[in-house]
Amino acid sequence: MSTQAVRLFRKLDGLFAVYKPQGVHWKLVRDTIESNLLKELNSCPPPPRLAVQFQLLSSGENSSSTDLTLSPSMVPSLADHPQVTGPQFRKVHVGIGHRLDAFSSGVLVLGLGKTNGLLERLCKSHVTRDYTLEGEFGKATDNFCHTGRVVERTTYDHVTQDKLERVLAMIQGANQKALIMYSQVDLQTQEAYELALKGLLYPHGKSPPVLTGLRCIHFKPPHFTLEVQCVNETQKYLRKLIHEVGLELRTTAVCSGVRRARDGPFKVENALTRQQWTTDNITQAIAQFRSTTRKIRKSGIYRQTAAISNTSIQEHKIKGHDDAQNFSGGTMVDRVSPETRDEERT
């Protein structure tokens, strides 16, 4: 029997993105969304079953006597009353993609219903994520955040943008090497060269966090902002990165904000803010991301262009277009293991 609530429940199936505010645990976000959906689903309870009851009713207009006789009638059974059975829906499966810790804010991918299974695939796949890190020179804390206990204070007058760029380039170089190593590709081959050119190298299997892109977008001492594209990271690693940047510059730095601007194909523009965590908005967002979800489902390993070199980062603004092209192209390059490649050469 398909009531309105059941039809709505069947529609709640897909992936969507949500903007997690800072200071809120991701579980609270997930629970809030689940309770909002349940409230909407339970607002119209199903009609109760009818049971036969023999009631004493007057025999009708035929008999003149005031005899009360038994007559059957269909009466709604109280056992199906919503106050006795409780709400029809007690749980909605809301799954979560890459987690964000309480200090960070940004795009958080959630999945509803059967599409939760896809989330795992998305997590395992090598989609890159886009972060905006805000740092502050001059102090060091125990947990790399500006709210932590201050451990050290230093001067930062000697820091210039030039020095910062140099440090970032060095970090990026190290990460490039790590990327090549973990992608298990022999760089002497032609295919590997073409992959590297197109920027389709990504780490294979388990790997530590690898930054595929890093640049400074704002510098005003003591505050500075970095933009990072990375794979396999945790937010703590990113805060540690800020700390290490400070150390390389012979000063100290703390992180005052981590903001995820993009998680794979899910961008900030389409993420839902706190006021929009209602069923209507969520169903609209699911419809919006339907094509993306289908592509994730179809492709074996979901891929994302990783902007490697500094020059290509400047095309960051049109990255969105690149992504769109990538989706439509759906290029699948065969990954050849090093042994077979050697055999081919010999």
Partner: protein
């Protein structure tokens, strides 16, 4: 007509043919079930039916399957006629296990102990006899929910009509069996009438009972004493009714406890009698819970925040919820409002509603105003924004009136935080 297959065969009351002895034996075993169900449904002051039921089964004059029919024939409206028609065995409309045993007594006299004559299942009988067939109760003796009992029990029926959420109550331990064992006319009705006399609205009775079902087991003298105590403390009738509906557990507490609490609030806060009255009638939960969190909150306000005595008094009388708020959240809000927004103590004391608001809301709105360089909280400044307007207004009015921007801009800004 809902009759199980076995019921269809056995029509005759009391006269069973030998062929039906086997079915009677099977139903004989069900006697144990029936006995315990009867015990469940009857209030404890009426043990007689239990014994009678077992006697009846031993003699094998058991009339099976008649109770089905009888149960279904009961209606919610006719339950009031139960007690008056106990003796009338021919009138098998109302369902009550007490009816069962009353009928059996008269029948036992009619049939001798040795004469067990069972009718053939194919024997035609008249309507009146068919109607007198007793069906055993299908109620399970033990159940995880109240669903099997709600159609049959008058108490549960009336509670559902009042608006009580039985599904919430049955999850609490022992509350479900307590409700099933209550007798409507003896226990529930007098207390409901008492609450109605007190002035509690009928629409609120449902939620009151959902939160506090134990008001139905509290003795009426205690309830009346406590209400009399509150009236003696110059609480008006309407305020007492409002307090009871806001804090359902209020009347379950003893007079000493209520007295203790009222005294504490008067002494600690240094409030006058009328102000304490006002405070307690607005937030009667203060009288129910423990005093330790309240004491801690007061200490936090005094020592950590640095408010003066008169400021604390003003805050508490304007927003009593501060006394019961979470310490950590309160500190977080105060820290942001005082240190980041730069608002002095006097202004916060003037608008204590800001301490009651959600932290995220205050933070987002303040940062938005700062981004638009409209964050002016000093009353002397021309484009001054008062704290209560910052916090109370809904989003769209806030954006249009206070921030002078569109809602989309606010959403875009939220995504940059």
């Amino acid at each position: 007509m809902h009759l199980c297959q076995r019921c269809v065969f056995v029509f005759r009351c009391g006269r069973m043919s030998p062929a039906l002895q086997q079915s009677a034996r099977i139903l004989h075993q069900r006697s144990h079930d029936i006995r315990s169900t009867a015990a469940l449904l009857q209030p404890s002051h009426n043990p007689l039916p239990v014994h009678d039921l077992s006697q009846k089964y031993n003699i094998e004059t058991w009339r099976p399957c008649g109770m089905h029919l009888r149960a279904l024939s009961s209606s919610v409206q006719n339950n009031s006629s139960d007690l008056t028609q106990k003796k009338d065995e021919k009138h098998c409309v109302a369902y009550d296990s007490s009816d069962l045993h009353q009928e059996s007594l008269s029948d036992i006299h009619n049939i001798g102990l040795d004469a067990v004559v069972r009718p053939s299942p194919f024997q035609e009988i008249c309507e009146e006899e068919a109607v007198r067939i007793q069906v055993p109760s299908s109620l399970p003796p033990v159940s995880f929910t109240l669903r099997p009992y709600v159609d049959k029990s008058e108490t549960l029926n009336k509670l559902v009509q009042l608006g009580v959420d039985l599904w919430k109550l049955e999850q609490r331990p022992n509350v479900g069996s307590m409700l099933v064992k209550l007798d409507f006319h003896a226990d529930v009705a007098p207390r409901l009438l008492f609450l109605k006399d007190l002035g509690v609205e009928e629409s609120k009775l449902g939620s009151l009972l959902t939160k506090n079902p134990f008001i139905l087991t509290e003795s009426l003298e205690n309830l009346e004493t406590r209400v009399a105590y509150l009236r003696s403390k110059k609480f008006s009738a309407q305020s007492v009714a409002a307090m009871v509906s806001k804090a359902p557990y209020l009347l379950n507490f003893s007079v000493e406890r209520l007295d203790n609490r009222l005294g504490f609030f008067q002494q600690q806060l240094g409030l006058s009698f009328e102000k304490t009255q006002n405070l307690v009638s607005r937030l009667p939960k203060l009288l129910c819970g423990s005093l330790e969190p309240v004491k801690e909150n007061l200490k936090v306000c005094e020592l950590e925040f640095g408010f003066r005595e008169n400021e604390i008094r003003h805050i508490v009388t304007t927003v009593p919820k501060v006394l019961l708020a979470n310490k950590r959240k309160l500190s977080q809000i105060f820290d942001f409002v005082h240190n980041t927004m730069g608002i002095p103590h006097s202004l916060i004391a003037k608008f204590p509603q800001v301490l009651n608001a959600k932290f995220l809301r205050i933070r987002e709105r303040h940062l938005f105003l700062e981004y638009l360089s409209r964050a002016q909280y000093q009353p002397s400044h021309p484009s001054y924004i008062s704290l209560d307007r910052l916090v109370f207004l809904p989003d769209d009015i806030f954006c249009s009136d206070v921030a002078l921007a569109s809602l989309e801009d606010f959403e875009q800004f939220q995504k940059t935080l």
